[in-house]
C-alpha cells in the first residue's frame, strides 16, 4: 500500500482496513489478556495474598497490606455488579479501607494514644479482621456463583481455605500460642493455599468470560492517585501537627517576696548555681528554706541519635543534679534535676525526663518524701516563658533483660514535654523530696533525658511512651537518651561543675 494512502484514509475506511488486516491468528498475549475478568480477579486474588503476608522490615508490614487493599478495592469495584456476593465484597472492602487508611495516617501522630485509647484500637482491629473473614466468605460465594452461571462445577476452595487459615491464625494470636510447630504448619498450609488460589484463577479462565465489569466514573489510576495523595497529605499533616505535646506556655511574672529573696540569698551562699535558682518556682524555692547544705553535679552532653556520631553533634545539653539538705525531724533532702540546652536542639518533637529516685535505687537507706514538682522554661525577646510538664508522675515500666527473659517492673518518675520551636535557653527541672532513714547512707539519683532527634518514625510515638516501654534502652528509633547521676556521700559536700 502506498504510504500516503494511510494518511488520507478517513476513520471508517481505517477501521475497515484495520479489521481486515490482521494475520491468521491473534497473538498469544492478546488472547491471554483480552478478558473481562482477569484484570479484576487477579487484582482481588493478589490483593488477598499481599494482605496476608506480614514482613516486619522496611515497613513492608504496612506497605504490602496497603497495596493489597488497594488492589482488592479496584478489583472488587469492577466486579461489584456481577452478583450480590461481589457487591457485598465491595461494600466490605470499602469498610476495611475506611478503617485501614485512617489508621495509617493516625500512625504518624505521636499523641494518638491521647484521643484513641487502646480499647478502641483493639476493637477496630477485631472489626477489620471480622470484615476480612466475611469478605473472603462472600468472595468464595461470588466465585461459585460465576462458575455456576457458566454451567461449570464451582471450584474456589482456595479462598475458603484462606478464610479458615485466617481464623486459625487469629485464634493462635488470641491465645498467644507460644510454640513454633503450629506456625510452621500454617506457613506450609499458606503455600498450599496460594497454589490452590492459582488453580482458582485457572478455573475462572473458562467461566470468567461471563462476567461483566461495572463501568467506572473515576479511572483506576485516579483512585490510586487520590488515595496516595490523601495518604501523603494526611501523613504530612500528622508529622507537622501531631508531633508535639500541647504545652501551656505563659509569660513568667516576677513574684519575688522578701521571704523568697532571703532563701535565694542563703542558697547562693551555699553555692547553689544562680542560673538554676532563677528557674525555680516559688513553692520549690520555699521548699529549700533553711537549707543546710547544697551538693551539685553538672555535666555537658552532646546528644545524638547514634553514639558513633558523637564528634559531629553540635548540640550541648547541660544536665545538673542538685541535692539540698533541709531541716527536719529526719534528715531531709530536696533533689533537683535540671537541664539546659546550651546549643540546639535541631528538632522539636517530644522529650522525656526519667528519674530513678534515690529512694528506689537505695531503698534500704532512703524513703520518699512529698510530691514531684517541676516545669519547663524558655526565653524569647527578653521574656521568660514557663509551662508545666505535659505529664509528671510515677509510672511503672517494663524492663526487659537480655534475650527477653528477665522481665522486671520498675516504678520511676517520668516527665513528658515538648520544647518550643521559637526562643532560646530551653530548660526545665524536676524535683522530689526524700528522707534518709538510716545514718549510714548515700544518695544516688539517676537522671535520664530522652530527646527526639528526627521527625521520621513510623508508627510514631512520644519520647515518654518510648522510654516507658524500654526504660533501659539508650537508642529507641528517633529517640536517644543521655544519662547522668547524682552520687552524694553523707559526709562530704560536693560541688562538681564541668
Amino acid at each position: 500500500m502506498r504510504n500516503e494512502g494511510w494518511r488520507h484514509m478517513n476513520d471508517i475506511d481505517l477501521k475497515t482496513v484495520f479489521s481486515e488486516s490482521f494475520s491468521a491468528l491473534p497473538p498469544e498475549e492478546v488472547v491471554r489478556d483480552v478478558t473481562p475478568w482477569k484484570r479484576a480477579m487477579n487484582r482481588v486474588l493478589l490483593g488477598m495474598v499481599l494482605g496476608t503476608i506480614t514482613l516486619n522490615f522496611w515497613y513492608l508490614n504496612y506497605i504490602l497490606p496497603a497495596a493489597g487493599m488497594v488492589l482488592c478495592l479496584l478489583g472488587l469495584r469492577a466486579l461489584r455488579r456481577e452478583n450480590g456476593y461481589f457487591t457485598a465484597c465491595f461494600v466490605l472492602i470499602l469498610l476495611r479501607c475506611a478503617c485501614f487508611f485512617p489508621t495509617l495516617i493516625l500512625n504518624t501522630i505521636s499523641l494518638r494514644d491521647e484521643f484513641f485509647p487502646d480499647y478502641i484500637v483493639d476493637a477496630l482491629g477485631q472489626a477489620a479482621l471480622a470484615l476480612q473473614l466475611l469478605g473472603l466468605f462472600c468472595l468464595w460465594l461470588g466465585l461459585r456463583a460465576v462458575q455456576q452461571k457458566a454451567g461449570l462445577p464451582p471450584r474456589a476452595g482456595g479462598v475458603l481455605a484462606l478464610m479458615v487459615w485466617y481464623g486459625v491464625v487469629y485464634f493462635l494470636a488470641l491465645i498467644q500460642y507460644p510454640g513454633l510447630i503450629l506456625p510452621l504448619l500454617l506457613l506450609v498450609a499458606f503455600i498450599f493455599i496460594l497454589r490452590s488460589i492459582c488453580k482458582t484463577t485457572k478455573a475462572l479462565s473458562e467461566a470468567g468470560y461471563t462476567m461483566h465489569p461495572a463501568p467506572v466514573k473515576v479511572p483506576d489510576l485516579w483512585v490510586v492517585l487520590i488515595l496516595a495523595a490523601v495518604l501523603v497529605l494526611g501523613c504530612a499533616a500528622g508529622y507537622l501537627f501531631g508531633t508535639q505535646h500541647p504545652m501551656d506556655w505563659q509569660p513568667l511574672k516576677e513574684t519575688q517576696t522578701a521571704e523568697t529573696a532571703e532563701i535565694r540569698a542563703h542558697l547562693l551562699d551555699l553555692d547553689f548555681p544562680e542560673i538554676i535558682l532563677n528557674d525555680l518556682a516559688e513553692e520549690d524555692l520555699a521548699a529549700c528554706a533553711g537549707a543546710l547544705r547544697v551538693d551539685v553535679e553538672s555535666n555537658v552532653y552532646a546528644p545524638c541519635m547514634d553514639d558513633r556520631k558523637l564528634q559531629s553533634s553540635g548540640k550541648r545539653l547541660r544536665m545538673t543534679s542538685i541535692a539540698v539538705q533541709i531541716p527536719g525531724e529526719k534528715e531531709t533532702w530536696v533533689i533537683m534535676h535540671h537541664f539546659l540546652w546550651e546549643k540546639g536542639p535541631d528538632f522539636f518533637g517530644t522529650d522525656c525526663l526519667q528519674i530513678w529516685p534515690a529512694y528506689q535505687v537505695e531503698a534500704r537507706g532512703c524513703a520518699r518524701g512529698g510530691d514531684f514538682t517541676g516545669r519547663v522554661l524558655y526565653d524569647q525577646d527578653g521574656q521568660t516563658y514557663a509551662a508545666p510538664f505535659y505529664f509528671l508522675g510515677e509510672a511503672s515500666s517494663t524492663n526487659r533483660g537480655s534475650m527477653y527473659r528477665d522481665t522486671t517492673q520498675q516504678t520511676d518518675i517520668f516527665a513528658g514535654f515538648s520544647l518550643p520551636r521559637e526562643g532560646e535557653n530551653r530548660r526545665g527541672y524536676l524535683t522530689y523530696t526524700m528522707f534518709a532513714a538510716e545514718e549510714d547512707y548515700f544518695i544516688t539519683s539517676y537522671f535520664c533525658y530522652t530527646h527526639q532527634h528526627t521527625w521520621f518514625q513510623y508508627p510514631a510515638t512520644t519520647a515518654l511512651n518510648a522510654q516507658m516501654a524500654s526504660p533501659s534502652s539508650n537508642y529507641i528509633g528517633p529517640f536517644a537518651r543521655e544519662m547522668t547521676q547524682l552520687h552524694s556521700l553523707s559526709a562530704e559536700p560536693m560541688q562538681r561543675w564541668d
Binding site: 502506498r2 476513520d11 488486516s21 484484570r39 454451567g151
Partner: protein, 179 residues
C-alpha cells in the same frame, strides 16, 4: 482437559462438542457479543461456530498457535461474516482462521502488504496500546466495554484510541514503513 476435548473432536465423538460448549461457550459468546448485537443472531452464530469447529478441527495446527487463539479466530471471523450477511453486504466472507485473499493477484498482494504493514506498526506500539488496538479493531468491542474492562472512563478510552490511530497513521504513513 483441552487435549482430551480436541482428541474427542478429532475422533468425531459428540462428547467433544458437549465439552466445547461447556468449557469454551463463555469465550465464544464473549467474542460474538460485541460483533452481533441481536441475541438471536448470537445464538445462531454460536451454533455456526461450533459446526465450523467440528468441520475444521483437522485444520487446527498447534504449531501455528494455541487452541484459544484458533478458536478466537474462528469465532471472530464467523461472527463478522454473520454480521455482514445480516447487513446484506456484498463483501467477501472472511475465512475462519486465515486472512481473506483478494479477488485478483494484485489485491492479494495489496492485502498481504497491508497485513505486514499493520503487524510491523503494532509491534512498535507499547504492549498496552497493542491490546487496546486489538480490543477495538479485532474483537470489535465497543468503547463502553473496553472502558469497563480496563477500569477507564469511556472518554479516556476514546482519547487513547484517537492518539493511537494518529500514531499508527504516522507509522504506516511512511515514518516506519518506507517502501
Amino acid at each position: 482437559m483441552e487435549q482430551e476435548m480436541i482428541r474427542r473432536l478429532l475422533a468425531r465423538e459428540e462428547a467433544g462438542m458437549a465439552d466445547l460448549l461447556l468449557h469454551y461457550g463463555p469465550l465464544m459468546r464473549y467474542i460474538i457479543a460485541p460483533i452481533l448485537p441481536n441475541p438471536q443472531d448470537r445464538e445462531d452464530c454460536l451454533s455456526e461456530v461450533t459446526l465450523r469447529v467440528w468441520e475444521k478441527i483437522q485444520q487446527y495446527d498447534r504449531k501455528r498457535g494455541s487452541w484459544n487463539a484458533w478458536l478466537t479466530a474462528i469465532t471472530r471471523n464467523t461472527a463478522l461474516n454473520h454480521a455482514r450477511k445480516a447487513l446484506g453486504s456484498s463483501a467477501e466472507e472472511l475465512p475462519e482462521d486465515t486472512p481473506a485473499a483478494g479477488h485478483t493477484p494484485e489485491e492479494a498482494v495489496l492485502q498481504r502488504e497491508r497485513q505486514e504493514a499493520v503487524r510491523d506498526a503494532l509491534e512498535r506500539l507499547p504492549y498496552r496500546d497493542r491490546i487496546l488496538f486489538y480490543r477495538k479493531y479485532y474483537y470489535m468491542q465497543p468503547t463502553a466495554q473496553i472502558a469497563a474492562e480496563l477500569g477507564m472512563t469511556e472518554r479516556a478510552v476514546e482519547g487513547k484510541l484517537y492518539r493511537l490511530k494518529k500514531q499508527l497513521r504516522k507509522i504506516l504513513g511512511g515514518e516506519g514503513h518506507a517502501q
